[in-house]
Symmetry: C2
Subunit: 548 residues, 2 copies
């Protein structure tokens, strides 16, 4: 027997309808790509997004067509999102930090029909467009004035399209499982793969993240999404902001400490979200300028493990609460958040910190599993490493066009490729990427844990740990260090620095000082490239043993 | 094109699975019907609910069968809910405060196959069972010891069933639109009508109410649901509690001020929800005993309009934040909540109070419309009265067995039967029930607004206002007052008390002092009965005019 409640498909156009109806005058403030601060409202964004929808229809965009955005976080980018998704087209966010060849691959794989582009990216786009045959139109996210000298012939102006079209456009009315968004994974191995979000998955992610123990965005909040809309959908903030009636402050392309601080203060931001490097830049700026944070209350950090010094800095110097979150493109992205439960909240600040540095616990709708290679469940004891798998209504079921084949296990779980622990409070901690974990004598060693500690050495600028072939142990850890400018270091002092901080058998078999530790498009250490560079390297311990 | 995210049906068994997996040791504390305080955990509740599922299957309960509960808020009641819903049967909550004939009507209309009953209700149930032919089994929510002398032959003991059955039972696996719960409206006109909730609607209601601007239950909270699970599902707290990992404190049958206060303090409750009368009793008790509230932070009040004195009392004497909420059985129930937006939060406490006394604004997924009789939208100016209509994924689509026919308008909205205003901040205020609004000379007068003010007269115990026939104005207001014991009053002093507090033309044409103002099963004034009693009454103003 079926229930008799209303049929109300979860389509994201209803989120902006809600913002217009109940928070229509609430501001969305952007640092525009042209320079000035631009102020608009949810009411105006709703109307302009509808006009864009008509413009897209006029350009021949049909339901299911992919329409890409190559853009910073601005009000116009939000208008593009809803204008695309409202008519059943698929909003494909492009990461401008990708290498040119990856951008070309992705646009061709998605068969994007239209690309919205900020002024910033026009020179690159002009160069690549000849290799992107599916793209029929480029819409420049600016006005006619700024289009002068545009290197792309026939490019359209966003503002002209908005002014030329009517706001009379019906949104939604389709199945909630209709595709809404497309985002490609950064692809450290193989080609990038597309995650095709549905209206339902976006809507459910929005509702879950609005929970008080997740992002908990309120109508009282002023939210600054530093995390880009092209990077795992700005953790959904362009959806949860309007859904909650929060004021949004969009930082455009300026993400340096001074620019972020200026917006935090001038707009009296209460909540922000970004990767650790952004917060490190902000802390450095604040310390150098004796800056204050007069309104900021909460900061969510994700994208990579949060350094303890950032949590302490915000807490002790600025009274700002930092919460660590984990997710990936494949999880829409929020999977866990290190919000204390009652037992942890009752601990001292120092004890709480141990949990705040973990990736945290899953909200309802996210199922996590910790398993060994054979698929057997491992204990939640905080020390046993295992494969982290995830299941839920906003977790990927398969990649776009079936890339990578069947990606769920027999119980419907997606293997994140992360290696993690789970503790007695259900707090998950990533210890490594599965492909980076070092398998030594049948036991696992976390490369990330060692490199995080080594990076804390006063002489180190960056540190990386990889597993290197060893005839007896299969693999042993090798530590690579890029020293700070002007510093000199020895293997012995780095190994001494690690002593007592890691298990003795985790001690790297060697330390190599390098001029460069390469980073990928999302700012993470590119271990694949490091392994390539070190492929002829032989451990001294391996040589000795072979001689023996 | 459809998205490629996982297929993860929103069935409520996953909520208790989540609680077991991530908050398994979190306590659920009950004041048992037998007397003692009983402590259990989500882990244990999960296991016992699974055992109950097997017991129900053993009794022949099939998917879609209705299984009723006649019970107070306890851990066992939660076990019954999940045990029933997990196997696709329908949990039908019976309101024991209904008249016997209504209970019989409802059980027969639902064709309940099994009834779970607390010890309290066995004598009444024993009397009514012969008139309930569909009921095959009664499960007494206690142990064998307490079953001795049970007036129902063949009644089963809850504890015996739990101990006799295995916890090995598969839950869920069905369509998320499967019926999960059934609750009948109080039915002040005509027969009670059944609202048939689905797993999807329950799950979405849970996610929405977990939002920081709605109930906002956190894993750090200790929640005392005073509002009964048989009264609009305890506002979903038996779902949002486990979904968030909050500790639950279930008050059983003792809802007086002293008993509620004892639990609030002994269990260090942080959040509670109830109708105004419960809070009035608590405030009275606290003042009489010089009691303190050392942990309580937030209280949500709904069910009927919240008196200003309660909000002020909690705020000024106890530092507790009171939030007003509105909903109905047909909305699962939460429809609006008076959580301040940024503009209201910036006001003085006194200015905020004007908004806190309203029913509040809708969360995303709830659409409200304010319309005149012809279905035209009315302005959101805070003064224009109109019909309040509602639409959303946890709003009723049709009543059980089609009672009342098609109940949605051409745009899919359900008419709440309430008359309300909406202001510039989107805050809704109920001014009357549509059938109680007084239509005088083509304009509407709110009976509730007048009676709320009149009830504030120091001599008044209760006040009610109804519309009475008038030859010129169609209807004019009549004020009925039940005086406090030992008081005497005059028409003139009550009209003088209203002066300046309501529009002059709203002034009742007469005041009648009565010994009894009848209340219905949910504690609201029964105006239908009052109108019946007053049907031969003629207004003095009408008589004068007829003579003239």
């Amino acid at each position: 027997m079926l229930g008799l409640m209303q049929n109300w498909p979860l389509t994201v156009d209803k989120i902006l309808d809600h913002a217009k109806e109940w928070h229509g005058g609430r501001e969305v403030v952007s640092r525009s790509v042209e320079g000035p601060i631009v102020r608009t409202t949810y009411g105006q964004i709703h109307e302009r997004a509808k006009r864009l929808s008509n413009a897209l229809k006029g350009l021949g965009v049909q339901p299911g067509d992919r329409v890409a955005t190559l853009a910073w976080n601005t009000g116009r980018h939000i208008e593009a999102w809803y204008g695309i998704m409202g008519i059943g087209a698929v909003c494909h966010t492009l990461n401008p930090r990708l290498f040119a060849e990856q951008l070309v691959y992705i646009v061709n794989h998605a068969e994007d029909k239209v690309i919205f582009s900020d002024l910033t990216f026009l020179p690159v786009l002009a160069e690549l467009l000849p290799k992107m045959p599916s793209v029929q139109h480029v819409i420049v996210m600016s006005d006619d004035e700024h289009l002068k000298g545009c290197p792309i012939p026939g490019a359209l102006s966003f503002e002209a399209l908005v002014s030329q079209h009517s706001a009379d456009c019906v949104w939604g009315g389709f199945d909630e499982n209709t595709a809404a968004g497309l985002c490609y994974t950064s692809g450290t191995t193989g080609n990038p793969k597309g995650v095709l979000y549905s209206h339902r998955s976006n809507f459910l992610h929005t509702l879950v993240t609005m929970g008080v123990d997740v992002l908990g965005i309120s109508a009282k909040d002023t939210v600054l999404p530093v995390v880009p809309m092209f990077h795992a959908n700005a953790w959904g903030l362009a959806l949860s902001g309007p859904a909650s009636g929060a004021k949004l402050v969009m930082p455009g392309q300026k993400l340096d400490g001074a620019s972020v601080h200026e917006l935090l203060e001038s707009e009296q931001v209460t909540f922000s979200a970004a990767v650790p490097t952004v917060w490190q830049m902000l802390l450095t700026h604040l310390r150098e300028t004796n800056g204050k944070l007069t309104s900021l209350k909460r900061v969510v950090i994700g994208g990579s493990a949060v350094p303890e010094a950032i949590v302490r800095g915000f807490r002790d110097e600025f009274g700002v609460d930092v919460t660590h979150a984990w997710g990936m493109t494949e999880t829409s992205p929020l999977g866990t958040q290190a919000t204390p439960n009652a037992a942890i909240a009752a601990m001292s600040d120092e004890d709480q910190l141990r949990y705040k540095l973990k990736q945290g616990r899953p909200p309802v709708t996210i199922q996590l599993a910790l398993q060994d290679d054979a698929g057997a469940d491992l204990p939640h004891d905080g020390t046993t490493f295992g494969k982290l798998k995830v299941k839920g209504p906003f977790v990927v079921g398969e990649y776009f066009r079936g890339d990578g084949g069947a990606i769920l296990d027999e119980n419907g779980f997606f293997d994140t490729g992360d290696v993690a622990t789970l503790d007695e409070h259900g707090f998950m901690q990533i210890t490594d990427r599965a492909k980076d974990v070092i398998k030594s004598g049948g036991e696992w060693i976390s490369s990330i844990e060692i490199e995080n500690i080594a990076a804390g050495h006063p002489k180190a600028a960056l540190a990386a740990v990889i597993g290197v072939y060893h005839p007896k142990w299969d693999e042993r850890p090798l530590l690579l260090v890029r020293l700070k400018d002007g510093q000199e270091g020895t293997k012995e002092e780095f190994l001494a620095f690690l002593e007592g901080k890691i298990a003795k058998w985790w001690t790297p078999d060697d330390v190599v000082f390098v001029d460069d530790i390469p980073l990928g498009a999302t700012g993470k250490i590119d271990k694949k490239l490091i392994r390539d560079r070190m492929k002829d390297y032989v451990l001294p311990t391996a040589q000795v043993r072979e001689k023996a």
